[in-house]
Symmetry: C2
Subunit: 491 residues, 2 copies
């Protein structure tokens, strides 16, 4: 069969690619590093986007849209920011092509050179704060709580579908506040929104924390993050929320008249999640049969497949299946009846397993006689035979159950994958043999952090929020430490 | 008052800009030709987008996402297409910046030159059809009914907010079919969707037609369009739907095995509307007081403004206003209670008129005593005093009435602005003195079309669908003609 998936044990990375491509989520494109998000993958993203968008609006945010292009000089205005972002980016230098005088095709018109190059946005702090300068005069204009859904480009040399692509889709919130406290509160609030979204919609448990100085966003004073764990024991940063202090306000001279009638720089946050989350979803839940999608965001939640011999049986099954389909739809369940004659039932079973459809209903002639239907869960692959009466209600409940149990299993896996170690030997051993998060004492210096990264490829994923204070010694330097931090190898 | 609007009579073009900027829809940006869509404008666009997206899905389409960048060589593959699009576009030539060795800031790294330049998509036929080649093998893979919501860039030298900007937002449908008939039917079906959307949501009546050969989309066999009329008598193309024949299939070698087991080129359509529609909306309905927005897509449908003296009156009015607000919201009405103390009622009246909020409710102390409230319509500026009982139901009905009457008025204006003429003298006179659409005989040649355009700046907007056949002579050349076409000066 053509849709065979490489097993996780055989080649985890190939398994991931198989799921993306054979599951119909995305494809490579003719443009290096850019992908095509196929309809099935885009519908998944739409459900994630719509859920997030509602959460943003429920917390008082509005959407807007800022230019795709950023004047080159803007990137240099915030010193740390330019170091982090200006390097690998798409640069627009010309605004016209002309017919090739030497033959066919078109060439860049050398006379249409831009005076100042434009950068395709890798993130929008600079263009947005240059705009906020015009929008903010007084404390009455604050807070500004704005989000943007957009495409961004970062020229990655090694790309992977969804996880790291030159162009990707994301949302970026950019808020402006009158006080430090309010901005910090906003950054933390949006981290909570992300954590809630990951757990409730993606069935993806996360650890909330704050990054060390070396792992901070370029231009941030603090970067909060949610970290998740993939099945191969590697961590994946699922979202970040930055407290930017007054850095961008100072870079773009954005001041406001405060209540005491004094000019003050504005306080900022930014926060974002991207189509990278789709990659996290795949790796957190997929199995060797294909995708396993959480019901709340699955493009298709239930599929009905008929099994029949001859047109008489087909007519009877068709009638009942269509009735069930309407019942499911009337309950708001995204359902489909696949009566396509070109494919055999076995092919369909494999196809919908590959696509991770949470519930499969199989209706055969004998089932119909017995007033029963076979119900299969994608996540556990359990099958049972259920009475046809109230089947749509049964499926409705089952979808909720699956969503809940997927989160529970993922949480159990994550909790079992956090290992406390107190020596360098154990640290290396756990990283190599078990993987997951390693909770260890660290002396708080960037030098130690860097040395550990060089020796083990493990980075400090975060210092968990509300981290218990505990005296100890750094596993690497032996110097005193007051708390443990979470290390892991990461995507 | 700072928000004064230039009148249409004084300077129509300045009036338009005033409405966009003072109405809070959009702003110029630091990047030449690009605009910032502000939250109020973006919410309007979201409502338009969501309504269209639902109509697309209801007609069987799905969304996907294709790369922002198009390899330069792709543009040359369809001969007509490259003539139309390759000229004014943003060209990415490099993928890295580096620190300026001579000073501060960053410069383009000459070592990071792309082997083949990338064009920021001006439209996506080429990248999409290069992808469809991999997706289509047999008639079983057809039709492909895909839409994309995206940003596109066309390097315009003279730009106007919403109407013509270097970057704009749009949707582009790209469908693939097994037969010519099915593709033509799709192109016409989507034209109907656009017409229905314009009339039912934007209260914008349109004429459905087909473009002449010279006005066709670059690469199309037929371009269907909806044409609308602005208050200054100029036409505005509000949407286009193209039957592309097999042009892109041939350019990208996309064939399928048909039911007779033979290889055949795939038939195509593409269709799009953009943020330009926001410009149409403004010019179709706005008045000298500001925006006038149709209720179905207005970001805010009703606003309640309190008028009181002293805290006792305020408490009473507050309580009632909040009750009304909740009632309105429970009916799904987008409503707001503006009790901001910083602004006086008169300022608020002007502000919400400027923003085109369809219904204003004013609650004063005497109203409250009389159990009444003042209701003002934005479109007609009529005021009436209404009993507080059932006020939310009253507003609900009034919003429907306003939506309906806005369309009726616009339709009446458009119908009165179609003038039949039979001589060159009348043609020029009507264009200069009355404007609007001029229905006239044309000999069917591109030469005449071009000559008329040069002399009068009027173009053939379309040949209406189901155009009555009628013998006549061309107003310009005197040659025989079998039908009238619609001329106008246009945006
Ligand atoms: Zn959906
Ligand atoms: Zn809305």
């Amino acid at each position: 069969m053509s849709k065979e998936v490489t097993s996780r044990a055989a080649d985890y990375s190939q398994w991931y690619n198989d799921l993306v491509i054979k599951g119909g989520l995305a494809d490579y494109s003719a443009v290096r590093g850019c992908m095509v998000i196929k309809p099935y993958g885009f519908t998944l993203w739409e459900h994630m986007r719509d859920a997030l968008d509602k959460m943003f609006k429920d917390t008082g945010h509005v959407n807007a849209y800022f230019p795709l292009f950023i004047p080159k000089s803007f990137l240099s205005k915030e010193a740390a920011h330019v170091e982090g972002f200006a390097k690998e980016c798409a640069v627009v230098t010309h605004y016209r092509l002309k017919n090739d005088p030497d033959g066919k095709g078109v060439v860049v018109d050398p006379e249409a050179k831009l005076e100042e190059e434009l950068i395709v946005r890798p993130t929008s702090e600079t263009i947005i704060w240059s705009t906020y300068k015009d929008w903010i005069q007084s404390y009455r204009d604050l807070p500004l709580l704005i989000n943007q859904w957009a495409n961004v480009v970062r020229w990655e040399m090694r790309t992977r579908l969804f996880l790291r692509t030159a162009e990707f889709l994301w949302q970026e919130g950019h808020t402006a506040h009158a006080t430090r406290e309010e901005a910090v509160e906003e950054a933390r609030k949006m981290l909570e929104v992300y954590a809630t979204f990951a757990e409730e919609f993606m069935a993806l448990p996360v650890i909330k924390g704050v990054k060390t100085a070396s792992e901070r966003f370029a231009g941030a004073e603090d970067t909060y993050c949610i970290e998740s764990l993939m099945q191969d024991g590697k961590a994946l940063q699922a979202g970040t929320s930055h407290f930017l202090g007054q850095n961008f306000a100072k870079a773009f001279d954005v001041k406001f008249l405060n209540k005491d009638n004094q000019q003050e720089y504005v306080w900022a946050t930014s926060w974002g999640v991207s189509t990278r989350l789709v990659g996290a979803l795949i790796m957190a839940h997929g199995d060797d049969e294909g995708l396993v999608l959480p019901p709340r965001i699955a493009p298709l939640q239930a599929v009905i497949i008929p099994i029949y011999k001859g047109p008489e049986q087909k007519d009877l099954i068709d009638a009942k299946a269509k009735e069930i389909l309407e019942d499911l739809k009337s309950k708001g369940i995204r359902a489909k009846y696949d009566d396509n004659d070109n494919n055999r039932p076995g092919w369909k079973f494999a196809e919908y397993e590959m696509k991770g459809v949470p519930v499969r209903l199989v209706l055969g002639a004998r089932d119909l006689e017995n007033h029963k239907i076979e119900v299969a869960r994608r996540d556990t692959r359990e099958k049972e035979t259920v009475n046809l009466d109230g089947i749509s209600q049964y499926v409705d409940g089952l979808l909720i159950k699956i969503q809940f149990e997927m989160l529970q299993r993922a949480r159990k896996f994550m909790e079992e994958s956090i290992t406390k170690v107190d020596t360098w030997g154990d640290f290396v051993k756990v990283l190599d043999e078990k993987g997951g998060f390693v909770s260890a004492h660290w002396d708080g210096t960037a030098e130690t952090e860097e040395a550990i990264k060089e020796k083990t490829k493990a980075t400090i994923r975060c210092i968990p929020l509300d981290n218990p204070q505990e005296d100890g010694v750094c596993i690497f330097s032996g110097k005193p430490s007051k708390e443990r931090v979470l290390f892991a190898r990461a995507y």
